[in-house]
Amino acid sequence: MPDIKVTPLGAGQDVGRSCILVSIGGKNIMLDCGMHMGYNDDRRFPDFSYITQNGRLTDYLDCVIISHFHLDHCGALPYMSEMVGYDGPIYMTHPTKAICPILLEDFRKITVDKKGETNFFTSQMIKDCMKKVVPLNLHQTVQVDDELEIKAYYAGHVLGAAMVQIKVGSESVVYTGDYNMTPDRHLGAAWIDKCRPDILITESTYATTIRDSKRCRERDFLKKVHESIERGGKVLIPVFALGRAQELCILLETFWERMNLKAPIYFSTGLTEKANHYYKLFITWTNQKIRKTFVQRNMFEFKHIKAFDRSYADNPGPMVVFATPGMLHAGQSLQIFKKWAGNEKNMVIMPGYCVQGTVGHKILNGQKKLEMEGRATISLRLIDGVCASVIILEVKLQVEYMSFSAHADAKGIMQLIRMAEPHNILLVHGEAKKMAFLKDKIEQEFNISCYMPANGETTTVTTNPSVPVDISLNLLKREMALGGPLPDPKRPRTMHGTLIMKDNSLRLVSPEQALKELGLSEHQLRFTCRVHLQDPHSDTDTLSRIYSHLKSVLKGYAVQHLPDSTVMVESIVLKVSSSAEEPDLKVVLLSWCFQDEELGSFLSTLLKKGLPSAL
């Protein structure tokens, strides 16, 4: 039996560093190639030596598919393709292809220029890597080679996020990437057809959460921001430049307009303009409402939100600042956080998930004292010294968590399973404990197997693919004619035919045609049997009685009384004889050919029961 193997190199019982290997029908596919925000060492990238110890990956992978532009899904791509070595195709959607190199470049700058790391990918490598990208359109079937095909579905989550279906023959796997089952202020909801994959690999970030309605969360968020502004505090919202940021901007923009607020809103990076421009050009990827009204009013042209300058952080008075990155692990958001952390009037709102090890994760867990590496704030001369100093930062500002990150919650995951109707489920991109809970729930509710492999652990699923066969139309039509003009498609029916396996193809043809093709002559196989009946009539009368009996029982069959004292039912011959000694004991001789075996044995059983006296 064929099987499908799935091995996570990252995101197995973990969030971050998504990278999943799938072997299906002799093809090897890498799904996502992300980095881990929580680590600064080798663990940052997936362990590609799992695939091969020596050299390039091109020979081992048929294709790489990137689901969306978040760095935990594409951050290791230039490292994989340019430093480890991969020259095959890399598939991603148009928006992902547009935005992903910008985030990679940003990531590189922070790592190399700010933290001073060497042995990292270069700008040129990002460019070379992007040259290997083949853009994917939604619902387009892309033939990677003669056997392997992939198809992208809309996933919500962020601009250009996609789920992918991977298909070889009749076996298939669906990988969801990150997705969102409820439309938000700028994106639509994920959708997939009932494609019944052998395995559905789904994210499970919010495996145990069922989130209240979006409206409540939005109201809460606005209330908190508003209160803070009213008492003169500063609000920091760490975000990633693209995605949640635009949703929250739309939210604040409309709120500011409605409430006529004057406090400034800033967006921290130079990316803003550019980011919003991407949203305008890829408006077909946003939600229905924005798409419908974009000609009259483009939602991504903000009036109240202005570009941030580093010096503004020390300005007196209230303000709201969106700053990158979203997990407070580096960059501008961390710098501003350090400046504002000491004042209890200020507030930081974490609108998304934070991986372990980041400052965001620590403060969300209530940590009030943070050890900071001094590199970012202390001049370079000191770093060159013995060691970087450590600063203790006291966290006095309010820390709020608002789940705005667009992942499906438990309800959403179940909903997607119902949509796609998979045979097996495999969970990735979540915490082990939560996964285990969801696994139980899925197995209970759907009665299908659910797997949650750890990184480096392989899950093997045996598939049961059906085999395509070419059937001759004549045979099919003949069968159809037997059962009336319209056969019931929901009811199984047996049919006779000869299966010819030749030249790597399977054909089902009528026995006569098979004999002709193969140059064989037909052998006939006949069964005969005698049935004894007590019937005090003449032989001819008994035969007539049998005839009328069969005629009444076998409606819809050709029953004939022939002049040569035989009765024929289809190809079955019946004769009656008796001996002179016992004229009442009739011997009924039945003879049928192999093709009518079913009917023949039915008849013999029927006659053994005797004839009804009413005849």
Binding site: M1, H94, K97, A98, P135, N137, L138, H139, Q140, T141, V142, S170, K274, H277, Y278, K280, L281, F282, I283, T284, F294, V295, N464, P465, S466, V467, P468, V469, D470, I471, S472, L473, L476, L499, L506, R507, L508
Partner: protein
Amino acid sequence: MKLYCLSGHPTLPCNVLKFKSTTIMLDCGLDTTSALYYLPLPLVHSPRLSKLPGWVSKDGTVNLEKELKECAGRVFVDSQPEFCLPERELLDLSTVDVILISNYHCMMALPYITEHTGFSGTVYATEPTFQIGRLLMEELVTFMERVPKAQSATCWKTKEIQRRMLPGPLKDAVDVWSWRTCYSMQEVNSALSRVQLVGYWQKVELFGAVQVTPLSSGYSLGSSNWIIQSHFEKVSYVSGSSLLTTHPQPMDQSSLKNSDVLILTGLTQIPTANPDGMLGEFCSNLAMTIRAGGNVLVPCYSSGVIYDLLECLYQFMDSANLGTTPFYFISPVANSSLEFSQIFAEWLCQNKQSKVYLPEPPFPHAELIQTNRLKHYTSIHGEFSSEFRQPCVVFTGHPSLRFGDVVHFLELWGKSSLNTIIFTEPDFSYLDALAPYQPLAMKCVYCPIDTRLNFHQVAKLLKEVQPLHVVCPEQYTQPPPAQSHRSDLMLELQPPPVAYRRCSVLGLPFRRRHERIQLLPEVLMNYK
């Protein structure tokens, strides 16, 4: 397998294919050339048109002066213009399962088919085709509804009168009784609610019997050819396609290979004109007029070639030192058309596509708008009348010159020989289009730009993809009537193409022998 041909117009086709118990309509084009028999609908009262004499037959027995007017020796119907619909009597349209649309020009009859016929199927189209198709329908409805005409003329259609008494060309119009006035916006919305969007190379299963796939055809934004196939048979439907490098994604030719039948429609209507040459002539005539202080009027559709014209002018005007000349684009959907063109990057040619990665808008008309060189207005009323400066270039519809804002500009500029009207759309004969405006002092330049396949290209294409049989409109099997000696302007194939005309029913020449079934693994295990 059968093909029912409901339209005789080779570039506005409407065919119905019956294949494996599915009934598939291929396009539903609306022939608007019938509007040429009507008087223009002016936006503001036109004393000239209202003073035209009525028509009375020579012997005086028939008096239709209320319905028919004479202008410069021709007779026109004075009524709301009517369009020639696809044939609706040849087969029961409620049995149509799906309609496949190949480009936005070929869906204009959709409301006539989906409404009031009992049609309950699905329409498949790409997103740009759907969105721009909607704009063109909206525009057509607005053109008609904003100048309602009380009278609807029908007496002239009486067979005895039309065929026997009326002068040509009105006399030769066919099927005049099936002509209909324009649909309403409500019907458009209802028709479009049946559209399901598809992407190029998306495989759509119809009832598990047939698979249909749209392919890029290179003619316009989102334009497609269609593959209709089962496991053993393949029909290709080639509609408006182009091999020239304009804004859309290039045509996919290789997927058309190995077809049993290839249905070929939508070839160029002007096989003798080279689009590049025409573009050059367009620019030089435009420059000449502007330099002499005249205005240029370009009657055009609101989407399509206009994007290429704007791009071409964007480069040309500066080099010709005419950088300050304003362009005006006037249409109820002008703004939408310009905005929509910028958001369909996925459907554009490579070099336009790569612009959005920067990110920059794919078409340079964004810059023309930003620098105020191109302005768009919904109509001549309102802002436009106070803002416009001369000399200028005006792009506006409708190219038939029978309705839309273009009517006003002809009345306004027609009397001066300084002005020029440049025809770029190939759908209407420019002489017929201008007939009700004669006598006209304005200069007329005919630069039809039709990027669709010409006979040379199609011969090469067919040689490459090798279909077993080709089906095409009868017009392609003989040279055009005006150039009967040009045997290069027709399809010459071996075996000869199967030709159709309006109301033909063709039995397509192939036999199905096999079908694909799935054997369950349990059954297969028995043979181990």
